[in-house]
Amino acid sequence: MDGITGILLRRLLLVIPVLWAVVTLVFLLLHLVPGDPVLAFLGETATPEQVAEMRHRFGLDRPLLEQYANYWKQVLRGDLGVTFVDRRPVAEKILSRYPATLQLAVAALLVAVLIAIPLGVTAARHHGGIRDAVASVMALLGIALPNFALGPLLILLFSVKLGLLPPSGFGDPAHLILPALTLGAALAAILTRLVRTSVLEELHQDYVKTARAKGLNERTVLYRHVLRNSLIPVVTIVGLQFGVLLGGAIITERIFNWPGIGTLTIEAIAARDYPLVQGCLLVIALTYIVVNTATDLLYRVLDPRIKVE
């Protein structure tokens, strides 16, 4: 098949083995638990009858291959099983927390882009100067300072010392600011460096000289011509980093008591509620794959010179 449709279809086909591997891996994780997951959950005081009943209830007394086949059937139906703790549907629990995580990740992405583009463009424009150095130092700090150190420091400054923003909670837009800043800082740092390099490269292109020769002012040249071309690699990194944001969200949610899927994962791990942990991991991984594939497809549409490897 030729043309863009063929390229897109082939790229989508590449996702299938990855999806298979992810589901299989998440299934196998349960069997990594030393000893027995049910025993680990119930503890040493459980009677053999209780253990047997629960193993039967969760199908863990079936042969491994049968369990694997059943797991696939469930996943394809969108059923992620029931939790160990209160035997409620895993999918229902995850769905109730998912929007909060998505909200946080999107806000962090926005924060990162809003910081990185002006900072990166300024650094490139004043290449080698003091503003470039300041932007570089800020970018390095953003990369070096992990979100679990940055989060508490932001709380200390903006909530404890200045009393401007709430230290934790959920609901108001004000509650979103510190978590989004914490989660978005590292991405802002990476993007700043990328925008700077990308703009610097574009500034040496012939069309920039032409635009300047036409008498366009520097602002128009920079924002209408250069930035538009510099943003193609930035779009890709933003897409790829969205998954990293989902990973980082687990830590950020814990710092700010944000009721998202990350907090749910940590709670499930602490309670040894393995079906819930499996469900959370699967949903986060699937989100990551969907966003990555979408970014890749978008990139190919934006820049048709890229081939499927």
Binding site: A21, L32, L150, L156, L281
Partner: protein, 269 residues
């Protein structure tokens, strides 16, 4: 090497010495509790104050460097070794070997956010330093394998490799004596930057309670337990945060500096 790179290497060396000499440098016993003096701010006897059990923060921070660097260096050593072997096989043999390794294995491992896979493994295996090292190695080798594969693909077409093959050298000899020595430079750069990533990952997982366990001090864990006393004893968050940031910064600067020094023609990242 630029001055930032040099600063990076000086810091790296300093950190290694601190980790090595932690028992001699630590002014107090890291387990000695004094509940009467809990959460004490920095003082002359305790330059970084005391924690929620009255233990000396500076001493625990020095011992924490041991854990961080041990995990960081071990993970990178394992990842670089495994990645080199797998990447070299894929790049050198090509064909189905390469399709299986780079087409399937790489894509599958990169389909997960790394930290999530590590977290998942530790959640099911149970938290411990060894499980942490195992999990971080399993997610970390891919980037090294990709790097080495790309390098080997380039080097194996060069004249001296073709000449060795024409002279009847075995595959093992060609790989070990001719190809690998020529791909070592980018590997060292990536490994230096990789230590920063591994240190950060260790601290993140320990922060979530899934890494280093008591009584061993770890920067990530110190930060987590310090959060509860943010208003009364901010030094409990400040110093471990600073330690992590300086370590990550040091290895990043050192790696970038090394890269610049080895490849003067290549533009800075």
């Amino acid at each position: 090497m630029g001055w930032t790179g040099k600063i990076g290497w000086v810091l790296v060396l300093g950190l290694l010495l601190v980790a090595l000499w932690a028992p001699r440098l630590a002014p107090h016993d890291i387990q000695a509790q004094d509940l009467a003096a809990r959460l004490q701010p920095p003082s002359r006897a305790h330059p970084m104050g005391r924690d929620e059990f009255g233990r000396d923060v500076l001493s625990r921070l020095l011992y924490g460097a041991r854990v961080s660097l041990r995990v960081g260096l071990l993970v990178v050593a394992i990842c670089a070794s495994v990645g080199t072997i797998i990447g070299a096989l894929a790049g050198y043999y090509g064909g189905w070997t390469d399709r299986l390794i780079s087409g399937f294995l790489f894509n599958t491992f990169l389909a997960f956010p790394g930290i999530l896979l590590a977290l998942a493994m530790i959640a099911f295996l149970g938290p411990s330093v060894n499980h942490l090292i195992l999990a971080l190695s399993i997610i970390g080798w891919v980037s090294y394998a990709r790097l080495i594969r790309g390098q080997v693909l380039k080097v194996k077409e060069l004249d001296f490799v073709q000449a060795a093959r024409a002279m009847g050298a075995s595959d093992a000899r060609i790989l070990l004596r001719h190809v690998l020595p020529n791909v070592v430079q980018p590997l060292i750069v990536q490994a230096t930057l990789g230590v920063a990533g591994a240190v950060l990952a260790e601290a993140s997982l320990s922060f979530l309670g899934l890494g280093v366990q008591e009584p061993m001090p770890s920067w990530g864990k110190m930060l987590d337990s310090g959060r509860a006393y943010l208003t009364t004893a901010p030094h409990l968050v400040l110093f471990p945060g600073l330690a992590i940031a300086v370590t990550v910064l040091a290895f990043n600067l050192a790696g970038d500096g090394l890269n610049e020094w080895l490849n003067p023609q290549r533009p800075r990242r």
